[in-house]
């Protein structure tokens, strides 16, 4: 485990952005409307941009000479620190939107808090990313509402998506030793402190979307040895990385 809380924190943020950006990019050319193709690519682009900043910070803070690309392309699954939520497969477009909304609501809270980090690099990246993510949340909230309160079919799909994804939301708010170290150092706030803001956003949007919150259900990755933030992922991440990292793995040292 990396000791410097800045490294851990930046990896977790960067990996979330990388993996979710990758998932979104799988929609390129396949979205249900041209406007959605554009918006999804745009969100993916923002996330890849943020990923580059976070992973570069992680590499710098780590001091082992690893670039953002090294971190993205040359780590195997067990070294990734993203949430299980963002590696979930896309499902239908409603599922993708629901995943985006649940993450965006967390992402915005995390970035707003991170603007107050004692580490100026973190604060700086967070301030840039926050503006983009505020827009992501605005967009995903709007779509959750319109699809949840749309047709019978869309309402059923959004309910199914919510039920399927809800067990992956708990992981966002679990404090572990690395989080406590980061909080002690003033680098970041405790994940648990973000819960209240997230709850408020989610409750409001789901109400407007006429979707019932699944409430207290078993949460993945929060007990035992599990959880993406600790490097224990689902089977989905391995397949994703096999694609993503192919060229860097097959042509080591080449420049592109």
């Amino acid at each position: 485990m990396d000791q410097d809380p800045v490294v851990t924190w930046a990896l977790r943020m960067g990996d979330n952005a990388l993996i979710l950006g990758h998932r979104l990019s799988e929609w390129c050319g396949h979205a249900p409307a041209l406007e959605e193709d554009i918006a999804t690519a745009n969100t993916a682009l923002d996330l890849i941009g943020q990923c580059r900043m976070w992973l570069q910070l992680a590499g710098d803070a780590e001091g082992r000479g690893r670039s953002a690309d090294d971190l993205a392309y040359l780590r195997d699954a067990g070294a990734f620190r993203n949430l299980l939520l963002v590696e979930r497969p896309n499902g239908d477009y409603g599922h993708t939107i629901m995943r985006q909304f649940l993450f965006d609501a967390f992402h915005l809270e995390a970035l707003e808090a991170a603007e107050g980090s004692t580490d100026s690099r973190i604060a700086g990246i967070a301030a840039k990313a926050r503006k983009e993510v505020a827009y992501h949340l605005e967009r995903s909230s709007d779509l959750v509402i319109r699809l949840g309160d749309g047709s019978d079919d869309s309402a059923a799909r959004m309910r199914a998506a919510l039920d399927a994804l809800w067990p992956f939301t708990g992981e966002m708010f679990v404090d572990d030793d690395a989080d406590r170290a980061a909080a002690d150092a003033g680098v970041a706030v405790l994940p648990s402190s973000l819960r209240e803001g997230w709850d408020a956003t989610v409750t409001e949007v789901l109400a407007e979307a006429r979707l019932d919150s699944p409430g207290e259900v078993w949460q993945q990755g929060v007990t035992g040895r599990g959880g993406g933030r600790r490097g224990v992922h689902s089977e989905h991440l391995g397949g994703l990385l096999a694609q993503m990292q192919f060229l860097q793995r097959a042509y080591p040292g080449a420049r592109w």
């Binding site: 799988e26 396949h30 699809l147 869309s154 799909r157 860097q248 080449a254």
Partner: protein
């Protein structure tokens, strides 16, 4: 008729025709076909590049490719909007695409097999597209002309990015250089085909030229493309896969081998390496997305009803 003569006179004077103004039915139809086909090409054109977004070799390349594909979707939007000013809806155009009545550029029926293809597509395919599109900035139909101006600006950016990928590959490892040569080998003739059949076999051309819907002949543009591309290939250190390519001092341009027009017509007829995949992917996206589009309409209707009830 007098109306038609007056219309042609306006075009000859270089005036722009605007949506609400009178125009011959043939002008309208030809424009719808041409703009629609161009719009379809933009959205189908996302697919061969989408194939490599998930495997882009660096984060920067991934971002650039994402931005490019996003631009293409944006171009599709401009163009469908331009077509809509002629009285055809985007959904009607898409229906025509999905049923096979309308085409998209055949180049997208070729596969992208290595990362160098992302370079070749930008360099050659976008290069050929720009060659076609730059003159169309001066086309007679106002909305089309304005769409072209926006599009050309972005396309030339894409072309430079493609060339930059080729540069990196050609100055890289021997394997990368070989990938670049292989990409050129595979995309050269299909790129030449992008200008359409030889003038002697081209239909509709004379009327389209008079209407300034088409600004140059296919062969003119193809020649220009070859002459522009040959030195670029040389600069990359790549060999154009045409043993008969040679500078012709007399005509001030290159002599070159025509593409295999049988292949061209076979691909248009649906027999290219990827026709079924490309059209299938678009139809699937459309069909799978029906519930989504329906839901947004249902929501809008509900919201409207609620507003009215509240008034």
């Amino acid at each position: 008729s007098d109306q038609e003569r007056a219309f042609q006179a306006r075009i000859d004077r270089g005036e722009k025709i605007e949506p609400k103004e009178w125009m011959p039915e043939g002008y309208r139809k030809t424009l719808i076909r041409q703009i629609g086909q161009h719009a379809h090409s933009e959205i189908v054109g996302q697919l061969p590049e989408g194939n490599w977004i998930t495997r882009a070799p660096t984060l920067e390349r991934k971002a650039i490719l994402l931005a490019k594909v996003q631009d293409e979707a944006g171009h599709g939007l401009y163009l469908y909007s331009a077509a809509e000013t002629l009285g055809v809806s985007r959904d009607e155009l898409l229906e025509a695409l999905h049923s096979g009545r309308m085409k998209y550029s055949s180049i997208f029926n070729y596969p992208t097999l290595t990362w160098a293809d992302m370079g070749a597509v930008g360099w050659l395919v976008d290069g050929a597209a720009i060659m076609n599109q730059v003159p169309l900035q001066r086309t007679s139909y106002g909305p089309y002309s304005r769409a072209m101006i926006r599009i050309c600006k972005e396309e030339s950016f894409h072309q430079r990015q493609g060339y930059d990928i080729m540069m990196k590959m050609c100055s890289g490892t021997p394997e990368q250089k070989a990938m670049a040569q292989d990409a050129l080998d595979r995309f050269w003739y299909p790129s030449l085909m992008m200008f359409g059949p030889s003038d002697k076999d081209s239909v509709h051309s004379a009327q389209s030229m008079a209407w300034k819907i088409k600004m140059n002949t296919n062969d003119e543009l193809r020649q220009k493309f070859v002459d522009q591309t040959v030195p670029q290939a040389r600069h990359l250190g790549l060999t154009i896969p045409d043993p008969d390519l040679a500078w012709n001092e007399e005509k001030g341009g290159h002599d070159f081998t025509e593409p295999d027009w049988d292949e061209f017509y076979a691909v248009i007829a649906g027999n290219g390496p990827c026709n079924a995949e490309r059209l299938g992917a678009r139809v699937k996206a459309w069909d799978d997305g029906a519930w989504f589009r329906d839901a947004l309409m249902a929501h809008a209707e509900k919201a409207r009803a609620r507003r009215m009830a509240a008034e």
